[in-house]
Symmetry: C2
Subunit: 461 residues, 2 copies
């Protein structure tokens, strides 16, 4: 891939240049940049006071989404879903992995990296992993040619910085992580282009997760405190990656995406939404999502499509022509929206889990809070961290009229609730038994009340 092929692809324009989608033989590269605990309201283009010129530029020159969700309000499950296109409860990562915890992302799951590697891509994971540290669970066993980063969150000890399977610094100096990750990302892109291999870069920043640390050049620069400085450095990193792609002549053939794993923790803004990290209120799971591919994604596209991080794997498969993993996917191909050909994607119902417990489901603009407990600990913790609310009865919110989930509309809308519950029952019937049983438990049903449409009650997928 050289300057000439980039120009050719750019001229080829919207109808497709990649193997997966059209005429050109130039394979599309994929860069997924994932922030840690960055909130919906933390980017300039999403209303923040933090200056984020490079991410705002991505939004101007590409697509910006307003109804994009992580698949979990906490770290490990969210990442498991991003890399598999499936709900975390299906892939054995329903909750955050502690440091040194055995196991991780189920070994028989196919990651996006493995999918692309099988399709001839160079693959690299730079940054935070957090999907298992046992042999066979680290990135280099899960489809990544190389790994540079931390095996879990940098507030967990002993905080090792690793290169492939080797610890190169412990505890890592966290103030220079963003700089070093960016350097590694650029190096990988350069090496891939030099070897004429299509590439997949998963750049999973440790920022702006606590503890906060910015390198000296970014301290006191944002005017929004240390958190703002850290986001400012993250923004710089995005700009550096985009600049590298441009200099190497591959920015027209590279799909660059940006999102975050879950809502903000102590610091950071969830924008107009209720709740933060750990909550199944929107603030825990509604994420910024930007996608840029000049000539393929229309500049300035704004989408309210109901979309999810689980959609990225099938979207990338469609774009690159890679073969989808053999198991049922929960994500759908977003390309019709990204390319400006459709306003929405087909989605029966979107589920929100807390561990194995289904908490909420969204259908169109309606969001139902469904978990019910017969002996409710009716505690006033709805807007906070890890704990989600035990409800005496289901609640229903109209996210179009009431994005802050302030006014329960369940009364008078029982048919909407019944429709959502029917869809949930159909979908969850195909989930692992532990999920299906937990769901039935909150509904006051016996486990043997299996769905009537023949779906398995205790599936292992």
């Amino acid at each position: 891939m050289n300057r000439r092929s980039f120009l050719g692809a750019g001229a080829g324009a919207v109808l497709g240049a990649a193997r997966g989608r059209g005429e050109s033989s130039t394979p599309s590269n994929v860069v997924m940049i994932f922030a840690d605990d960055l909130g919906y309201g933390d980017l300039g283009c999403y209303g923040s006071g933090i200056p984020t010129p490079h991410l705002d530029g991505m939004a101007r020159k590409g697509a910006q989404f307003g109804h994009f969700y992580s698949a979990s309000a906490v770290c490990s499950p969210s990442r498991a879903a991003l890399l598999t296109g499936r709900y975390p409860v299906r892939v054995n990562v329903p909750r955050v992995l502690s440091a040194g915890e055995p196991g991780g992302l189920a070994k028989d799951e196919t990651t996006m990296a493995q999918m692309l590697k099988d399709s001839g891509y160079a693959t690299s994971c730079v940054g935070k992993w957090h999907l298992g540290t046992d042999p066979g669970y680290m990135p280099t066993s899960r489809g990544f040619d190389e790994f540079y980063g931390m095996p879990y969150s940098h507030d967990m000890w002993p905080r090792p910085l690793m290169h492939n399977d080797e610890i190169i610094e412990c505890p890592a100096d966290i103030s220079t992580l963003t700089q070093r990750y960016t350097q590694q990302a650029a190096s990988f892109i350069q090496r891939s282009v030099a070897s004429s291999k299509p590439f997949f870069l998963y750049l999973a920043h440790s920022a702006p997760h606590l503890p906060l640390a910015a390198s000296p050049g970014f301290r006191y620069k944002s005017g929004q405190g240390l958190y703002g400085d850290v986001v400012g450095e993250l923004d710089w990193s995005v700009g550096a990656v985009l600049q590298t792609l441009k200099e190497l002549g591959v920015d027209g053939t590279t799909l660059v995406m940006f999102s975050s794993d879950n809502g903000p923790w102590y610091q950071g803004s969830s924008g107009p939404f209720r709740g933060r990290k750990g909550s199944t209120y929107e603030g825990g799971v509604r994420m910024p999502f930007l996608a840029r591919m000049p000539g393929r994604i229309p500049a300035g596209l704004r989408s309210n499509a109901l979309s999810s991080a689980m959609d990225i794997l099938p979207t990338v498969a469609g774009l690159t022509g890679a073969t989808l993993p053999p198991r049922p996917l929960d994500g759908v191909d977003l390309w019709p929206v990204l390319s400006g050909q459709a306003d929405s994607v087909e989605r029966d119902v979107l589920l929100y889990f807390d561990d194995v417990n289904l908490q909420c489901a969204r259908m169109g603009d309606w969001k139902a809070h469904l978990a019910r407990y017969n002996t409710p600990p009716y505690s006033p913790a709805p807007a906070c961290g890890r704990q989600n609310l035990a409800l005496p009865s289901p609640e229903l919110y109209d996210l179009a009229a009431d994005p802050g989930e302030n006014y329960d509309r369940a009364e008078g809308n029982s048919t909407v609730l019944a429709d959502i519950k029917a869809r949930v029952n159909r979908l969850l019937g195909g989930f692992p038994a532990v999920v299906w049983n937990a769901w039935n438990d909150t509904q006051g049903r016996k486990v043997q009340d299996a769905p009537t449409d023949g779906l398995p009650v205790a599936g292992d997928n």
Copy 2:
């Protein structure tokens, strides 16, 4: 007081008609309407989708405040401060009283009702009390000529509705409470006017605290669910009170105020603010405040004065000429702001307590979160209900640039923090020992580290 005297007072205009503030001999009446768990964002004039035409009309024809605070994020302490002009920790109500709990608002405190009664006013408490149920603690022992309402929250049992000291219904039918409170309020106003007595009405609605219930005429009317319907009925009640004042010819000589005791609980909106009921983030304590007195308060006045429910007692004293209680007040007279003569009031520092623990302090636009624990339970509960955050170090927020308290600005602003702490130390030195000791404990100081300016460390006021 008759139609003629109202017209005379109206013609008398802004420079003062009441005994306390000027030429006319017509005493001003006072109506304080207090909602329960209504959030900052729950009125139309504060951005809600709930239609509240009568409250919006109050805002158009009077003053609307944007930086008005309750003195506590929970019920009993907030009400204790409203009625005494003093921080709840000074008047023996640092926390919510349970049903049947002994004691209540310290007997040697003077309520606003007692202050006005001593000045010749008829006084009535209609609605929720929650400042003590023992003999000597109920409204009729605390300066109110009469009481019609509930002794505590209507989610507490056995939920009695009382008239003076008599239980007239138990458990009370909560769906008609707003109607019955409004009827009682109108009756009191009519009787007072008929007897030519100036009057003080404290109308403390039980709505929209949970459990929610609206009377049949208001069900399904708001388009914002049952919570919206309940707020709609509350708005209707405000309109009915204003209409009664108008029909009796006293709306020009009556100061009508509206606010809420604390932020929203499960339902309801805290507007742009973080946190809800129980939290010392702004969402727990920033309240709507409207004040209407045609001819005295300029129509359409909008104020960002740093103000508090504790200011109401001194404001009312100034307006009516009543004698202030003998103890140190934490509130200040808001009349210069309400009358359009000043933009702000003098306030050294505003304190936010959780029980006896000082959590935060506001100085100008800066708000410091000050509580520090040496062994912090660093739990992710900052945005939720009762629990407030144990911080490893103080945080500082610029509420002008960052009303959502998302971006800690402590780094680089140590002089601001030091200034706030110095003011807190001076002020808290005059507080009860339990408060001063708790404050020192979070600062890692010995209790004997008394303030050096001679203020008592273990005062009983």
